[in-house]
Amino acid sequence: MIQEPLLDVRNLRVRFETPRGLLRAVDDVSFSVAPRETVGIVGESGSGKSVTMLSVLRLFPPLARVAVSGQVLFEGTDLLRLSEAELREVRGAKIGMVFQDPLTSLNPALPVGEQIAESLRTHRGLSRVAARRRAEELLELVGIPDPARRADDLPYRFSGGMRQRIMIAIAIACEPKLLIADEPTSALDVTVQAQVLVLLERLQRELGMSLIMISHDLGVIAATSRRVLVMYGGWIVERGSVEEILERPGHPYSAALTRLVPDLDQPRDEPLVPIPGQPAPVVGPVGGCRFAARCAYVMDRCRQETPPAVALATEHISLCWLSADGVRPAPAPIPAGGRR
């Protein structure tokens, strides 16, 4: 099935000038997203997962000293070469975005209905009345009861889960081709998380969107994505199907991720196997593998030479010297009763 990808990111590199030196936030990142596909990106803070997505739309803070290179092909057009005005036609219209914290992303002083309508008037040229009607439909679509009345309420009148639904309504208002969800449920309670993820999945199906799901939570990724990219230190260190990454991880970092988090199916007396140290920003000149300092399998070579991308199976690639030697890290212990 050769299909033109909707989004094709090639050799993306993002660097920030900081007082402490050049921060290599994203380095040589390439991936693509097919129409209607969901791709998961998993990683910790500083892994580059959010910066990758912000660079797709060039959403950087105004004073950031940032250098972006590579290509971000969206429907064949390189977004990195567009002018600010041209890019505005894409943001919110063809690519929608949902962030972690709806309270800081919504305008606190504007009724939610108007915030949805704003996007429709700007991008779709709808009249005030038509935009308002459509905003109410969208609120209903994302599960806000009594939308005609609630459209006039300010964001603080809604619960966290409701606010995230409103953010989603804004993001999909112009029926984008691609929705980027950056930790969309991390600030929500667990019982609300399930509802929001189910909503995202339903909307994706109904609107025929592609979805990029960014999360630090492998459970969220496993529940929503078929393909996953694992990021660490600005690199995609492993990519593959969710099955491959969970059951047969090739990179020691992915293997560790599957063991790190307490699991409801794990025996309780089993100690967790942490990764030593903490994720550190990649500042200044670097050589070798960025995970080397924390890796249980580190070899001399890892500290000097950039690891190669090794194909382990169809579309399963690990950026690791261990993989080059044909060695797999110990898989996550299989709990009694088998992994569900």
Binding site: E44, G143, P145, R150, V190, T191, A194, H216, R268, P274
Partner: protein, 348 residues
């Protein structure tokens, strides 16, 4: 290697709270009751997990037990004394036996103080050690939490979140307390650092025999570390029991929903997600207008007329479990039928 006594709490609990109620006045003259008649026990060296979603009152309860927030009603017996009857110096004297660790160490540690001084401070405040002895004790505690001597002159801004949480633990344990309230101690940490701090909490418990009240919104984390778990919803404990029993056989529909909502990073995650969304509808209602009767009824798939009017009592449900639900037996035996998913019945 563990010195933790088995659950349930032994005959003489370390802490025993009875009908603790906390009231806050909020703007507009309204009163909210974030903790409403809560009773619980914590045995010596025991870890009680307290789980629930944001706004359910679990942090307020933790503070109320330590008298950081004074309860409006109820009693808290600790080491043979009623803390609610104490004030001033006698209460201060008890504080060395009960400490707290917060979610955000950057916000709870003095940014201008050297790390070693932060750990020494409780010893000075409680006049438990002279300067040299305090310095030695602080170094020892820092070593026990895995921070080398090089950190002792650093300041909080020079440490990572994980390191700072180790400092907070060293500070909490330096007076050799009997109870530490851990309020979401790993929630602000990266997952790779979370596991380090959880393992450390387990080691320290074994070494000092300290009891924890472990407050967490993360069920898997609470399950990992707790001997018993209490589930809180809108100011009340709806279910409580030994950890394994509670997770194997959650009796309260809310506990069932919570457990089902933890997405397992396995291959069934997709189906699990759909099932979880069917089981729990809507959001947590506001404390300003708690629903009458059983507070969970607007979200409960099993709710019936009685649930809307009559608050359920806590009943023993076997195996040390206690549950506050009118219909837990019918639900357990499968004779109560869940309503089909009410996907769009959230209250704002």
């Amino acid at each position: 290697m563990t010195v933790v006594p088995p659950a349930p709490a032994p005959a003489a609990p370390l802490m025993q709270a009875r009908d603790v109620t906390v009231r806050f006045s909020v703007r507009g003259g309204a009163v909210i009751v974030p903790v409403d008649g809560v009773s619980l026990e914590i045995g010596p060296g025991e870890t009680l997990g307290l789980v629930g979603e944001s706004g359910c009152g679990k942090s307020t309860l933790g503070r109320a037990l330590l008298q950081l927030v004074r309860p409006a009603a109820g009693r808290v017996a600790f080491m043979g004394q009623d803390l609610t009857a104490l004030d001033g110096e006698p209460l201060r004297a008890m504080r060395r036996h009960m400490q707290i660790v917060f979610q955000d160490p950057r916000g709870s540690l003095d940014p201008r103080m050297a790390i070693r001084r932060i750990v020494e401070e409780p010893l000075r405040v409680h006049r438990l050690a002279g300067p040299q002895e305090a310095a030695r004790a602080a170094r020892e505690m820092l070593a026990l939490v895995g921070l080398d001597a090089i950190y002792d002159r650093q300041r909080p801004s020079q440490l990572s979140g994980g390191q700072l949480q180790r400092v907070a633990l060293a500070r909490a344990l330096v007076t050799r307390p009997k109870l530490v309230v851990c309020d979401e101690p790993v929630s602000a940490l990266d997952v790779s650092v979370q596991a380090q701090v959880l393992n450390l909490l387990v080691d320290l418990r074994a070494r000092f025999g300290v009891a924890y009240l472990f407050i967490s919104h993360n069920l898997a984390v609470a399950r990992h570390i707790s001997d018993r778990v209490a589930v809180m919803y809108l100011g009340q404990i709806v279910e409580e029991g030994p950890t394994d029993a509670l997770f194997a056989r959650p009796r309260h529909p809310y506990t069932q929903g919570l457990v089902a909502s933890v997405l397992r990073p396995g291959l069934g995650a997709r189906d699990q997600l759909a099932a979880a969304a069917r089981l729990v509808a809507g959001d947590v209602p506001s404390l300003l207008q708690p629903p009458p009767g059983c507070r969970y009824h607007p979200r409960c798939p099993f709710a019936q007329e009685r649930c809307r009017t009559e608050a359920p009592r806590r009943e023993p449900a076997g195996g040390g479990q206690v549950v506050a639900c009118h219909f837990w037996q019918e639900i357990a035996s499968g004779t109560a039928r869940p309503r089909p998913a009410a996907l769009a019945t959230p209250s704002a």
